[in-house]
Every structure is written in C-alpha cells, then in structure tokens.
C-alpha cells in the first residue's frame, strides 16, 4: 500500500502543478466597444506546411493593417492572433480549441479541406463564425451554420478543368492523378463524371498519399496507357514533384492541375519543368482587375515578394469578415453569422463571393497557363 500512497501523493502534486499553470477560464468577451475585435487564426506555423502559414499570415495582417489605418470598424481596431496546427488534423483541432478559448470573435481556418472537415464538429459546438478556406465539396455538405467556405468549391473548378480538357484542348484520353485527401478525391470524382458526360471518359485514375515523393509508378502507368493529357489534384510540394518527374519520364502531354500547380511553392520547386502547365487558379496575381491589382501592388510593397494564393485567400477571408462586422454593427456572434450568410456579390481579390444556403462563398475561378514563367489568363469560369 505504501507505494500506492506515494503514487497518489505524486499524482496529486502533479495535477496541482498543472492546475497552477493553467490559465483561469476565459471570461465571456462582452461586446465592449473600447476593446479590439479579435480574429483567431488556425494555420500551419511549423511542420512541412509552415510556408503556407507564413503567406497566410502575410495576407491576414495586410488586410487588418489596412482597416486599422482607416480607423477600424466603427472605431474598434481589429487584432489577429495565430495558433499553430502543425500541418495535421489533430493539431488543427487542438489549435482551434485554443483559439476558441482565447475568446475570438471570428475564426479563420486552414486552407486544407481535411483539417476543415476535422474542425467542423467543433465549429458547430463553439458557435463562433468560422471562415474555412478548403475547397472540398464536402465542406458545404456539412450544412454547418457556423462554418463559411470562403473559396470556390471543387464542384465548380474541377468541372471547369475537365471541360477545358475535353472541349477546348480536345483531349480524348485523359488520365487522372490525385492525392487521396478529401479535396483531391472529391475533385477527381467530379472531373471523372464531367469527362464521361462530355463523351471522353478518363482512361486511367491513379492516386497517391499526401507526402509521397516518388510518383514513378503512377506516371509510368499513365505513360503506358497512352493518355493524351493529365488532370491532377495535389498539394503544393507534391505538385512540384509531379511536374518534375513527368518531364523526367518524358511525358509530354498537357498537364492541367489544381490550383496548387501554379502556386509559388510548386513552381519554385519544379522550375523549368513547370513551363506550359495549365491550372484552375483561385488567384492570379497578374490579373488586371482593379481590386486584385491593388492587392498585388500593396502586398509586394509591404513584403517585397510577389503575392500568391495563400495570402490572397486569407486576405479575402478577413475582408469578408470585416464586411460582416460592419454590417452587423457589433461582434454578437449570431448577428455576425447572419451578416456573413447575407453577403452577396462581394468582389474580393480572388473571386466574387455570394454565400449560398450551405454557406459556400466563392463563385468562380480562372483557367490559366504558365507561359515563359508568366501566368497567362485563358478564361474566367463563372460557376453560379
């Protein structure tokens, strides 16, 4: 029994130490006009995806600095705080809880659909308006009243590239290559259906796991299948690798990739191998649209680097939030949620946003091609 007493005493000691270190419970943030509005952000600050988090942070801070320079919203400044998701789903859930606990008025979630899906039940429970930036169709299907998808869903963009492949490029034997994660699987399924509807069914569908590095088996099979074009959905590092390994295997057919393929991270890795890739882009930094051009200029001025997708999507998410706070006239969660749901035809830097009944916001994307290392807009796709 003696040993047991020791164990008990020690465990009690340990627990009390923990208790001592834990902060006191978060008091309910009152709608105090003198306090800043708090936006909590769940993003990747460490791990393999840390660079996307860095860019996201840039975009968010740019939007916040702009509005604060104008005197804030109804006299109240905006303040953002960031929690690290470590680049995976359990980390995202953990970070989300932390953000909720610090009394955020609104939360911005990760750009990865898998993480957003993992957050969905928590968002519902926390009852805090949350903007998620994943593109998966499943996010809308959750019908979560508190989760807003400030991105064009894959139902639109995947169908767009499938149509572009079969109608404009006149490809007859397209092969599909995709990550097994939520966004890529869902998008590939949409595209497969679109291709079949167009009378040019896909000849092959190959997949791989996130984080894989060697795509030789998949690409060799695609080459052997005699495909005349490849549609691919990937995250950024894998996109870079696929473009590189395609050229190494001497596969010289058009590649039409998801948005990741023309992100800075992917093209920096693939270098010359990225030349000629088509993509369905959420954000084109060379776009002539006034609002987009202004964002691109300001971003470059502030951070001395070219603006890119992660920054733009997060910039738009914050802008939508500001719009909602302004319309709601307070930080009351329900009012903000209603204001967000009511946003129509809001022109952002990436696309135009109208939230539908499932809280899906983005309405279109752009087909682009990388020519001589410059993104060239081919056509705009209006989804709805």
């Amino acid at each position: 029994m003696k040993k047991w007493l020791i164990i008990l005493v020690v465990s009690m000691f340990v627990l009390s130490v923990i208790a001592g270190c834990g902060s006191s419970p978060a008091s309910k943030p009152a709608d105090d006009k003198s306090k800043p509005i708090k936006i909590g952000v769940v993003t990747s600050l460490t791990g393999e995806r840390a660079l996307t988090g860095q860019y996201s942070k840039n975009g968010i801070l740019l939007a916040i600095d702009e509005v604060n320079a104008k005197g804030g919203i109804n006299g109240r400044k905006i303040e953002a705080f960031f929690e690290d998701d470590g680049g995976n789903e359990p980390g995202a859930v953990n970070a989300f809880n932390k953000v909720v606990n610090s009394g955020a008025d609104l939360i911005i979630g990760p750009i990865y659909s898998n993480m957003d899906m993992a957050l969905s039940p928590g968002i519902k429970k926390a009852e805090i308006p949350t903007m998620v930036i994943g593109s998966s169709n499943d996010l809308g299907k959750q019908q979560n009243p508190w989760m807003f998808q400030s991105r064009t869903a894959d139902a639109i963009s995947a169908a767009a590239i499938a149509n572009y492949a079969s109608k404009n490029l006149k490809l007859k034997k397209v092969a599909l290559l995709h990550d097994t994660d939520n966004f890529a699987t869902g998008a590939a399924t949409v595209a497969e259906k679109t291709l079949t509807d167009n009378g040019t069914p896909a000849v092959l569908r190959e997949s791989y796991n996130s984080g894989d590095k060697d795509f030789t088996p998949q690409l060799a099979k695609i080459k052997a299948s005699g495909a005349d074009g490849i549609l691919a959905w990937s995250q950024m590092v894998e996109a870079g690798l696929i473009m590189k390994q395609m050229k190494a295997l001497d596969i010289n057919v058009p590649l039409i990739g998801s948005n990741s393929y023309i992100t800075k991270i992917a093209t920096d890795l693939a270098k010359a191998n990225a030349e000629g890739v088509y993509s369905v882009a959420d954000y084109v930094h060379t776009s002539p649209l006034p609002k987009t051009a202004e964002f691109a200029r300001k971003y470059k001025e502030k951070y001395k680097i070219e603006s890119e997708f992660n920054a733009a999507m997060n910039y738009d998410a914050v802008s939508l939030a500001i719009e909602a706070f302004t319309k709601a006239g307070s930080t009351d969660k329900n009012k903000v949620r209603e204001a967000l749901a009511g946003i129509k035809d809001y022109v952002g830097v990436a696309t135009t946003y109208t939230f539908d009944k499932n809280n899906v916001g983005g309405t279109g994307s752009t087909i682009v091609q990388l020519k001589n290392n410059v993104l060239t807009v081919i056509e705009s796709v209006k989804g709805r």
Partner: protein, 332 residues
C-alpha cells in the same frame, strides 16, 4: 496495524480523488483538453509499461493498436449505431484479439527482432487506416462520432470526459499495479530479467509474453475508444510510428521500474510544451537535446535516477558503477 494502514490509504485516496475532482473547476477549457489527452496518453504508456517495462519486449506498435481501438469505436458508433459502452467493450476486446494474433505470429522472434517486426505492424496498420477508404474513411477519417454515454445519459463537456478518463486511468493503474505484484507479473519480470532462466523455472515464455501483449493491447483499445469519443473525429495522422516512439520516450524518461515512471514521464512530456510556450519553434529542439541529456545523466529515467541520487547523497553509498551497466538486465 494492517487495518490502520488500509484506513489511512483509503482516506488519502478519498482526499486525492476529491482534489482531482475539484481541480478542473479552476482551469481553462483548453487546459482541460490537454489534460484529457494526457490521461489517454498515460493509458497508452501504461500499455508499454506492461509489455516493455515489465516483460522486456519492445513494442513500437502501440500507437497502431491505439488507432485500432479508435477506429473500431468510430465505425461501430457511426455506421452501426452501436451503444457507446458496447463499442468501448468491443474496441478493448477486438484490439486484444488482434494483438493476440500479432503476438502469436511475432513472439517466435526474440529480443530486438520482435521490436523490429512491430515497427512493420504500426506502419502496416497506418497504411490500412489511411487507404481502406470504404471502412476507415481513408484520408478523410471518420467524423461525427457520438459522445460517450450510458443509456439516455451523455457526456457533453470536456469536464465530463475528464472524470471519465480519470476513472479509467485510475482503474487501469490499479489493475496494472495488481498485475505488477501478482505471480503473473513476476513471471513477466522473470522473462524480462532472464528469459532462459525463466524458462528453466517453468515459465512458458511464449505464452506469458502473449498474455502480457494482449493486456497491453486491451489498454490501447480502451484508450483508442475513449480518444474517439473525446475528439469525435479520427484520422490516420494520429496513429503513426512517431507516436509509439513518444510513448517509449515517456516511459524511459520516467523510468520503467514502477508505475511512477509512466506518470511522471507522461505528465512531463505533455506539459513541458505548454509550460514553455514562449520558446515556440525552439521547443522541439530543446526537447530533443533534453532527451539526450537526460539519457546521458540518468539512464534509468527520472525515477531511477532520483533514487540513485538519493542513495548517493543520503546514504553516501555512491559507487561509480551505479551509473554504468546499472540497467543491464540482459535484454538484447
């Protein structure tokens, strides 16, 4: 005399439980969630304590079994609407059964080779979790797992889960301590200390190792099931080889000779990142270096090292040999 001791123990136990029960009232929800996860991790470390600390068989597959428990619960509750308590039971038994099969196949291997094979087990399990989409949901994982409950009563808050997890952690600790003192536990430790000698003494080592492994598997199954209920979401990214390594590090840092080791090891490694928040991106670097230093300074873990330090200082019985080969109990 004995009765008096028991009375004191009972009183202390009550006092301790009251303290534990009152504790979460003063801390934030986030901290509560961290403590909840700590209790789950603790049960997994206890499972390693049984198979490795007591029996001396290194298993790297514990995170895989933890995942198996979580997936069984997730599938049963979301696809078949099984009652939570039954799902918990099936998770424990199902994981135990699976581990029994693994053990039967792999305990033909000796020493390190068993440990090596378990790395294969965790990698294979993770591959299945990640890719068997119709059953495990693939990369999407399984969401919307209902909360734990019995009959019409459900746990809705993290505080509720804290008490549930505390109950299981204490119960499993008691069981483990009971095993530790029983004849079965002594046969485990006989195998750890010298398998051939144990065989000579009439211990059926193959069978005994399997028993220890199944017990550890059941622990992991319970921890996994509770994890599924707590997080209401499971995905393959949680159940990876590095997680198993983390359990091993916790056990080795704490010390593998008594239950205190797993407690101290788990609490320290879960809480350190919370305490050293300001270090942010340096935290893992410090952690890695800290692990090396601790092994160099206290190869027996904090508990073993502390005892030796005590012996050195108080009893002045410090022998240079104390720090060398002290833990060499014949494995490998």
């Amino acid at each position: 005399m004995i009765a008096k001791k028991k009375l004191i123990a009972l009183l202390l136990l009550l006092a301790g439980l009251t303290l534990a029960a009152l504790l979460p009232l003063g801390i934030s929800n986030y901290m509560l969630r961290v403590i909840d996860m700590m209790l789950i991790t603790y049960v997994c470390v206890l499972s390693l304590f049984v198979i490795f600390g007591m029996t001396g068989q290194m298993s790297f597959a514990q995170a895989g079994y933890w995942g198996l428990g979580a997936y069984i619960t997730a599938i049963l509750t979301t696809k078949f609407g099984v009652a939570p308590l039954l799902a918990l039971l099936v998770s424990a038994l199902g994981t135990g059964l699976f581990v029994a099969l693994v053990g039967m196949a792999l305990f033909r291997l000796h020493g390190h080779y068993f440990g090596f094979a378990t790395i294969g087990v965790v990698m294979t399990l993770n591959g299945i979790f990640q890719n068997w989409t119709p059953v495990t949901g693939g990369a999407n994982g399984i969401g919307n797992i209902p909360p734990f409950g019995i009959g019409g009563w459900h746990i809705t808050s993290d505080l509720g889960y804290f008490y549930l997890l505390l109950f299981f952690a204490v119960a499993i600790s008691l069981v483990t301590e009971w095993i530790h003192r029983s004849a079965l536990g002594r046969s485990f430790m006989a195998i750890r200390d010298n398998e051939i000698a144990a065989k000579c003494m009439g211990v059926n080592s193959y069978f005994t190792k399997n028993v220890a492994y199944v017990i550890s598997g059941v622990y992991c199954g319970i921890a996994g099931s509770l994890f599924a209920f707590l997080s209401s979401y499971t995905s393959a990214t949680s159940f990876v080889f590095p997680q198993s390594v983390l359990y091993l590090v916790m056990l080795m840092l704490g010390g593998y000779n008594s239950l205190l080791g797993p407690i101290i090891g788990t609490v320290l490694l879960i809480m350190l990142p919370e305490w050293f928040r300001p270090l942010q991106e340096y935290i893992l670097l410090v952690y890695g270096i800290g692990v090396i230093l601790l092994m160099v300074v206290m190869p027996d873990g904090l508990i073993g090292g502390g005892k030796k330090l005590y012996a050195c200082v108080v009893r002045k019985k410090c022998q240079p040999d104390d720090f060398d080969k002290s833990a060499d109990n014949g494995i490998g």
